[in-house]
């Protein structure tokens, strides 16, 4: 961990930080231009479609819509940077409040899915690499191919039909049971019970990818000299695979897990729609139906910023895990 304080790491850190800030700035500018390029009066996209003339006048004045475009851009940037993403008419709340109220549910879904996908994906990937070209390997590969082909909402529908509606093992929708006022352990178990299917669906999509990457990385590492050394020392095969080989094979896998936030969020939107799970995905669907553009633009901006931030974290953590990366550049 010595290289945390090294000069080259410091430079990388600053460079990435500046790049991320510039990107976020550009994303806000893109948002602004989308609002102005879209057909119709920009006030609809800044205020939503269900307002009255008086409200529109207010918004026009606020964003300076009669001013030159550059002034408007400045006003828009300033208000976004202040954390003001506008007001949602359909929820009668500030946009940021509407969005952040839904974040915990989606976060729970995404984190539990990542946990299942990475543990399961790494384990299955190692086992597939260990038995390269065997029946198991082919079965795993077929599963990976399916995971790369079947869309998340179809997986969700099929699991829903089979496990919830046919077998009746899991609830078909929602995040907690309605009208039951559960507390403590009972509430927590109810939450997990409702989380199981949506989380499993999201995990399956990710699992295929993590498994395939782990398998490829393991096959590369298993030909290295230090693996021969480890085997020659008489270590057990499990120790060679899971301690010596996996430690080195895990690096590319870690980046994928870190950089897949965008795909996880897209998957979450679709899966939440399938299971009527009240997170950001449901919100997207609701605001699309209500034409509540301020929330939609806010969602787009916050998701892009979250992805930028996650890329930044992955970029600066990676050299800490794998010091070689800094010196290759």
């Amino acid at each position: 961990m010595k290289n945390i304080f090294s000069h080259s790491y410091y430079r990388l850190f600053v460079k990435r930080l500046v790049q991320s800030i510039v990107l976020i700035f550009l994303l806000i500018v893109i948002n602004f231009f989308l609002i102005h390029l879209a057909p119709g009066d920009p006030v609809y996209y800044l205020a939503g479609q269900s307002g009255d003339e008086q409200y529109y006048q207010l918004i026009r004045a606020k964003f300076g819509l009669d001013q030159p475009l550059l002034t408007q851009l400045w006003v828009y940037l300033a208000s976004v940077l202040r954390g003001d993403l506008g007001f949602s008419l359909s929820y009668q709340q500030p946009v940021s409040a509407v969005i952040f109220a839904r974040v915990p549910a989606t976060l729970l879904l995404i984190l539990s899915a990542i946990l299942m996908a990475s543990v399961g994906g790494v384990f299955l990937g190692v086992e597939a690499a260990r038995r390269e070209n065997s029946f198991y390997d082919r079965a795993f590969n077929t599963f990976a191919l399916l995971g790369h082909s079947v869309p998340s909402f179809s997986i969700g529908h099929l699991l829903l039909l089979f496990f919830a509606l046919y077998l009746g093992l899991f609830p078909a929708q929602g995040m907690i049971s309605a009208n039951q006022d559960l507390t403590g352990i009972a509430y927590f178990l109810d939450l997990l019970y409702h989380l199981a299917l949506p989380s499993l669906t999201l995990a399956i999509v990710q699992l295929a990818q993590i498994m395939r990457l782990t398998r490829a990385a393991m096959l590369d590492v298993l030909n290295e000299n230090f693996i021969f050394t480890a085997r020659a020392k008489g270590l057990s095969e499990r120790r060679v695979l899971y301690v010596h080989a996996l430690r080195n094979a895990l690096l590319p896998v870690v980046t994928i897990i870190g950089s897949d936030l965008g795909m996880l969020l897209s998957g979450a939107v679709l899966i939440e729609t399938v299971y009527a799970y009240p997170g950001l995905g449901r919100l997207t669907l609701e605001v699309l139906a209500a034409r509540d553009y301020p929330v939609l633009m806010g969602l787009f901006l916050l998701i892009s910023i979250a992805v930028t931030a996650m890329n930044f974290v992955t970029d600066i953590v990676y050299p800490l895990v794998d010091p070689r990366i800094i010196y290759r550049r």
């Binding site: 609002i35 191919l145 909402f153 529908h157 509606l165 795909m263 897209s266 729609t273 992805v307 890329n311």
Partner: protein, 295 residues
């Protein structure tokens, strides 16, 4: 290379290679057959489909039967006809976008890779910016703001997909530019256009073809996801649109959900397998390639 580790593919003719891969690989052969079936369904939909897929009738929520092979939905529309016409929409959008985005990508990518300098930098920064917002959200927001007719959707999808090809072609052109045969052509006095179009691009073609095949699958998935979430052209029947309507009736009518889902999965699976086989035949040294699945 998923199914091919035990066969060695040698030979200089790409078409011959592809045939050999198909012959040795049952999965790829099956994939090619499935693709042919879907393509035929798309082309001859008017002759195959027994009903108009948008025509409502009084026979609502019928279970699958000889008359309605895949049953009917809540408005009495025939699911089998919907699946047949849905193939047309999916394949039409997939191929159009792959073609347009592929062409733009090849043009911009090879120009940037060959010219280098400021243009190259500009292109790379631009494509990096495109990679930040998740593709699904980017398409969703533009379609929500600008309208989502089929024509618009194709434009928007092209707009978000060309960067992938551009980056790939740029990298390939850069690596080919450094090869001895390009140097030889330069020394022989060939013009830039001749080097690019006669020396470099023909050698980049296998990569471009594989990439465009896989793009068709990615676009089909994304278009279905948009329709599923309620953004799409309601004038054209599509699998995603059928799923969007059917999810409210999932408790009573599983067939509205299951058949379009299976069709979508089978088509994309076939594209993946055939794309991978193409990749093995055309770029023998490359790793297995799969659809860039954004949903």
């Amino acid at each position: 290379m998923i199914f091919y580790d035990d066969i060695s593919i040698q030979g200089s003719s790409p078409v011959g290679n592809f045939r050999r891969v198909l012959k040795h690989n049952k999965a790829a052969m099956l994939g090619a057959i499935v693709l042919t079936v879907f393509f035929s369904a798309a082309v001859f939909a008017d002759f195959i489909a027994p009903f108009d897929p948008l025509q409502t009738s009084l026979e609502t929520l019928q279970t699958p039967s000889p008359k309605f092979l895949f049953g009917t939905d809540d408005l009495g529309r025939d699911i089998f006809s919907g699946v047949i016409y849905g193939a047309r929409t999916s394949i039409f959008v997939g191929i159009s976008v792959a073609l347009f985005a592929g062409l733009i990508g090849v043009f911009v990518g090879s120009a940037a890779g060959y010219a280098g300098g400021v243009w190259d930098d500009l292109l790379m920064r631009l494509t990096e910016l495109f990679l930040i917002p998740p593709r699904f959200f980017l398409v969703l927001i533009i379609a929500a703001l600008f309208g989502s007719s089929l024509f618009n959707l194709i434009l928007i999808l092209t707009f978000t997909y060309w960067t992938t090809t551009a980056r790939l072609v740029r990298a390939e052109v850069l690596s080919l530019k450094a090869r001895p045969f390009v140097e030889a052509a330069t020394v022989a006095g060939a013009s830039d256009a001749r080097i690019l179009f006669h020396e470099i691009l023909p050698n980049a073609l296998p990569l471009i073809i594989t990439q465009m095949t896989l793009m068709v699958g990615g676009v089909i998935l994304l278009e279905a996801a948009l329709d599923f979430i309620g953004i799409g052209d309601a004038n054209h029947i599509s699998w995603g649109f059928m799923l969007h309507n059917g999810q409210h009736f999932i408790r009573d009518a599983w067939w509205i959900i299951v058949f379009p889902s299976l069709a979508l999965a089978a088509l994309v699976l076939a594209l993946n397998v055939v794309g991978d086989a193409l990749n093995v035949a055309l770029n023998p040294k490359a790793r297995s390639a799969y659809i860039d699945k954004s949903v």
